[in-house]
């Protein structure tokens, strides 16, 4: 059963071949068997999931209409608010936080009949590229448990790669869906900024965050996007559907693009630290596209070298505002030894936040402070505009931009924890995309000599996810990486 794709499982449940409870029990068994090793989950919600599965089975058995994901076990990154259980964001600050509402995407999933099984581990407050910044425990890559699954949606990626669920939601601010997808050999999509509502997504970098699916196949990801995409009046940054309608992502997904023009980024090719095996797999993928009639064109993103610096000013500035609410006063961790209110603030935050979170809050606060705002934050906003322009202009010359997702395969646990800057470079190919807001997907394109997956990133213009899926499917249909998930 766990070799079925999400869509295949969905179809079998819909016809009554498999019951939702069967699928759920399989999930629980699988979690019990592999999660002690992988540690993808922070919390499992057996009761909630079981009652949903029972309800779906009743509906199906009595011939009632059910949603597009009916009965499919799904996991959520633990920064998506659920009214059941806790939403911890991988942090001591919210270790016991239980919310009174559900995120928009949670409402959509439930309405579609999905069975939400549990909340996945993540880098604390989505800040990290390895899942090692979780305050609770690290997640292990199912391909090699001495290695990281990537981050910050490492738990979600590992949960899918370990075949405990057929799909998971992650969030991506600088590459946090795509990079772990690449490290774990699964498909990961960051939709266009504004395509999916952020209401109920615990905010990190508000102008960069997007929720997206992690799945085994491109079609599975398209189905999940179909369910969660669309305008939400509770999120002012969510696009109005009259400005960008939600397309049917599946109907044409098998149709290749004729005369596909693929852009490769001149500035990326000079990247130091690009693993030769990754470069090779990337080239092999481009060759495959050429065989299918695509044209490879070199394009330039002249300001992309500033992407990391720009990101670490914009995201951290926004985060310094977004994380100010964790003050020990209203909810979340509150310190116990206090003399006065100032103590409550500083001690609660010192105790509740891990060091990467503190680092980014301080950086963001500094970038906004009096005397530095113009040189740092304002300048970063201007450069961001240029980077976005570069990508927009490039996408006028080509249909898509293709690059490796990450410069490397999954690194060993502890390998980069001593040097934050080295960790930051892991996002060098993904980070510019968040600054521009464009949609991007990572799909498996190779396996290294060390038996570690390699990911390919495809970027298309804003709100063209339907085309993005088709381009990705073109390549996916020529290989069987989707069947190569590790046998844990």
């Amino acid at each position: 059963m766990d070799n079925l794709t999400l869509i295949q499982l969905r179809d079998k449940i819909a016809t009554g071949d498999i019951s939702a409870m069967d699928a759920l029990n399989h999930t629980f068994d699988r979690i019990d068997s592999v999660d002690p090793t992988v540690k993808a989950y922070i919390s499992i919600h057996r009761e909630e999931a079981t009652s949903q599965a029972i309800y779906i089975d009743e509906q199906i058995n009595s011939g009632q209409p059910v949603g597009m994901l009916a009965g499919v076990p799904i996991a959520l990154k633990d920064n998506m608010i659920t009214h059941f259980g806790r939403t911890t964001c991988g942090s001591k600050m919210l270790e016991n936080f239980s919310a009174p509402y559900d995120a928009h995407v949670v409402e959509k999933l439930k309405a579609a009949g999905a069975v939400i099984v549990g909340k996945c581990n993540m880098d604390e407050f989505a800040m990290g590229s390895s899942n090692e910044n979780s305050a609770f425990f690290a997640t292990h890559n199912p391909w090699d448990t001495t290695r990281v699954p990537g981050g910050s949606s490492g738990g979600s990626a590992a949960a899918v790669a370990a075949k405990t669920v057929w799909g998971a939601l992650g969030s991506d601010t600088g590459g946090s869906i795509r990079q772990p997808a690449s490290f774990c050999g699964v498909v990961g999509l960051k939709p266009t900024y504004g395509r999916v509502s952020r209401y109920g997504l615990v905010a990190y970098g508000s102008s960069l965050d997007q929720i997206g699916p992690l799945t085994k196949t491109v079609s599975d990801a398209a189905l999940m996007l179909q369910v969660i995409a669309g305008h939400d009046s509770r999120d002012s940054t969510s696009i109005d559907e009259k400005d960008a309608q939600v397309d049917d992502y599946l109907c044409d997904i098998e149709k290749p693009i004729n005369g596909l023009k693929i852009g490769i980024v001149k500035e990326f090719m000079a990247s130091e630290g690009l693993d030769p095996q990754v470069a090779q797999a990337n080239q092999a993928a481009l060759d495959q596209y050429k065989k299918m009639g695509a044209e490879i064109i070199e394009i330039s993103l002249p300001h992309i070298q500033y992407a990391i610096a720009t990101y670490y000013l914009v995201a951290t500035a926004e985060a310094s505002g977004n994380l100010a609410r964790y003050d020990g006063i209203h909810y979340g961790h509150r310190t116990t030894n206090t003399e006065n209110v100032l103590d409550v603030y500083s001690a609660s935050r010192s105790e509740g936040f891990g060091s990467e979170v503190k680092r980014r809050i301080m950086l963001g606060t500094y970038a906004l402070s009096s005397g530095y705002y113009d040189a740092f934050y304002l300048k970063a906003l201007k450069v961001r505009h240029l980077i976005r322009q570069d990508i927009d202009n490039a996408l006028k010359l080509v249909d898509c931009i293709i690059s490796p997702t990450a410069p490397e395969t999954a690194f060993a646990m502890g390998a980069k924890t001593n040097d934050p800057l080295t960790m930051y470079l892991s996002d060098i190919f993904t980070i510019g995309v968040n600054l521009g807001g464009h949609p991007a997907i990572s799909i498996p394109c190779g396996i290294s000599k060390e038996n570690l997956p390699i990911g390919l990133q495809i970027i298309t213009p804003a709100f063209t996810e339907a085309k993005l899926f088709r381009i990705a499917r073109m390549f996916e249909s020529t290989n069987d990486f989707a069947t190569k998930l590790p046998q844990l």
């Binding site: 952020r198 209401y199 999120d235 002012s236 609410r325 705002y373």
Partner: protein
């Protein structure tokens, strides 16, 4: 030595929208603490703000009434600081591109002369919750108020006396009430004033500016006056003691008003001044307003108190005092205006409203339109008094009955036998009859006897008795005088 008092005012007006500025929670109710709250105004993780369009429109309406320019583009900024009543750790406000700027407001100076106070800007922001320190070891936080829309209005430092400050405050309160954008009750904290006060002192050719003091916690017009007077005294004394007490050396200071001691108390100096780290809020889209939208809002800018007042004086010939009383609130002003437009005489209507109507409104603690009489009823009452149909003294009785009745003034008068007899012919006959049976008294009156006055009164009384009090006394008096000549 010359001392010039310089004051600029910051005003916060709570807008009377049905819901909060960024969420659908109710506004302005004194409900149990933390009951008008939701994930958004509680600042829960994952919650997002959505702009209340009415709040924006009320702000534009007010800014237009204050002659401000309305830029076609405005955005929202985060003002970051920590305080228990600020759940997100930042307030969503406006920094460098506010929704309006460069306006004016007319205010009476110490001598009653009108002067123009410049308005620097007005912008929209959210209110914080309330901290309560009730003397126990803990403070309590009530977030019902968090997220209430606030319009912050900032004047230039054009005010020169405590009187001007008070007049500015009362005028602004009236304006926002007349516009219908705020209840602006100072005691409820729906309108808050913070004067920024300093002195410019010239001595021996040198100019000194004392530190600008911002005074908070003023909850009455008297407190505003008191604070400004106190500060102009305190700052001068401080400077006299030490000429280094200047803005340059000491910087801005925050002080609180102690209503019991009638003095200001130090709260915060420039060292503790916040760096608010303003930056554009990435969760909200900027607002772009075009001419069509501006035009539709301009139509909601109703007549302002000053305009009513001037019309009442110049057109309706009412006294300045009456005009002021009648423009105390919009409902009263409109009530009078409507009655006069329906044909009632301004003076008579003004009397009815000020002597009867407002008294009842005060007692019932409601507005003039809620006491139980309609404009039509008042209009007719004014007319029948002027026509002599009822006497002035009967008018009170008619008015009181109108409170509980939908009937017209005339119908009520008739029903209660209050209609005056002003028929000279009939009254003359009556008088002739009475005089005929009181010849002796008549002679005495004609002779100027010392009892004349009393006797005359007796004759009047007799006539009133025989007409059951319905004779029009003026007419009767006139007739009697003629007959007693």
């Amino acid at each position: 030595m010359e001392v010039k008092l310089v004051v600029g005012m910051e005003i916060h007006v709570q807008l009377a929208t049905a819901t909060k500025i960024f969420c659908g929670c109710k506004v302005g109710y004194e409900d149990l603490p933390n009951t008008n709250v939701c994930p958004v105004c509680l600042g829960l993780p994952g919650a997002l703000p959505v702009m209340n369009k009415k709040a924006y429109e009320y702000s534009v309406r007010t800014a237009m009434a204050l002659n401000c320019q309305i830029p076609s583009f405005t955005k929202w900024d985060r003002k970051c600081y920590y305080y228990p009543d600020l759940p997100k750790g930042y307030q969503i406000s406006q920094y460098d591109l506010p929704m309006s700027e460069n306006g004016t407001i007319e205010v009476a100076d110490v001598n009653g002369k009108q002067k123009s106070i410049r308005i620097l800007r007005a912008h929209l922001e959210e209110d914080a919750g309330k901290n309560m320190h009730d003397g126990t070891r803990h403070s309590q936080v009530d977030l019902n108020r968090a997220g209430t829309p606030l319009l912050e209005i900032v004047t230039e430092p054009d005010l020169r006396s405590a009187t001007e400050c008070k007049n500015l405050a009362t005028e602004l309160q009236k304006i926002v009430q007349f516009l219908g954008v705020s209840e602006a009750n100072m005691q409820k904290g729906q309108i808050r004033f913070e004067p920024n006060i300093n002195l410019i002192i010239t001595e021996d050719g040198q100019t000194y500016k004392t530190p600008i003091i911002e005074v908070k916690n003023l909850n009455s017009f008297r407190a505003i006056e008191g604070a400004v007077e106190y500060e102009s005294w305190r700052q001068l004394e401080a400077w006299k003691k030490d000429h280094n007490y200047t803005m340059e050396k000491c910087g801005k200071e925050n002080r609180g008003w102690d209503a019991n001691k009638n003095e200001t108390v130090f709260q915060r100096g420039k060292e503790d001044a916040h760096d608010y780290r303003y930056f554009p809020d990435p969760d909200l889209v900027p607002v772009e307003i075009d001419d069509a939208w501006k035009a539709s809002i301009r139509e909601t800018v109703t007549e302002l108190p000053r305009s009513y007042q001037e019309r009442f004086i110049t057109q309706y010939k009412l006294s300045a005092y009456d005009a002021a009383v009648l423009t105390g609130d919009k409902i009263t002003a409109q009530f009078l205006d409507d009655a006069v437009k329906a044909g009632a005489s301004p003076k008579r209507t003004a009397n009815i409203i000020t002597q009867f109507g407002l008294k009842v409104a005060n007692e019932k603690e409601c507005t003039l339109d809620q006491i139980g009489v309609s404009v039509t009823q008042i209009t007719e009452l004014a007319k029948i008094i002027d026509d002599g149909l009822i006497s002035a003294s009967a008018s009170q009785t008619v008015f009181e009955k109108m409170l509980n009745s939908d009937q017209s003034a005339q119908a009520i008068a008739k029903e209660n036998n209050l209609v005056q007899n002003s028929d000279s012919g009939a009254l003359e006959d009556l008088l002739d009859a009475i005089l005929a049976t009181n010849n002796e008294s008549v002679e005495k009156i004609k002779r100027g006897d010392k009892m004349a006055k009393k006797l005359r009164g007796f004759l009047m009384g007799e006539a009133m008795k025989q007409t059951k009090g319905q004779a029009n006394p003026q007419v009767l008096n006139k007739l009697l005088s003629e007959k007693l000549k």
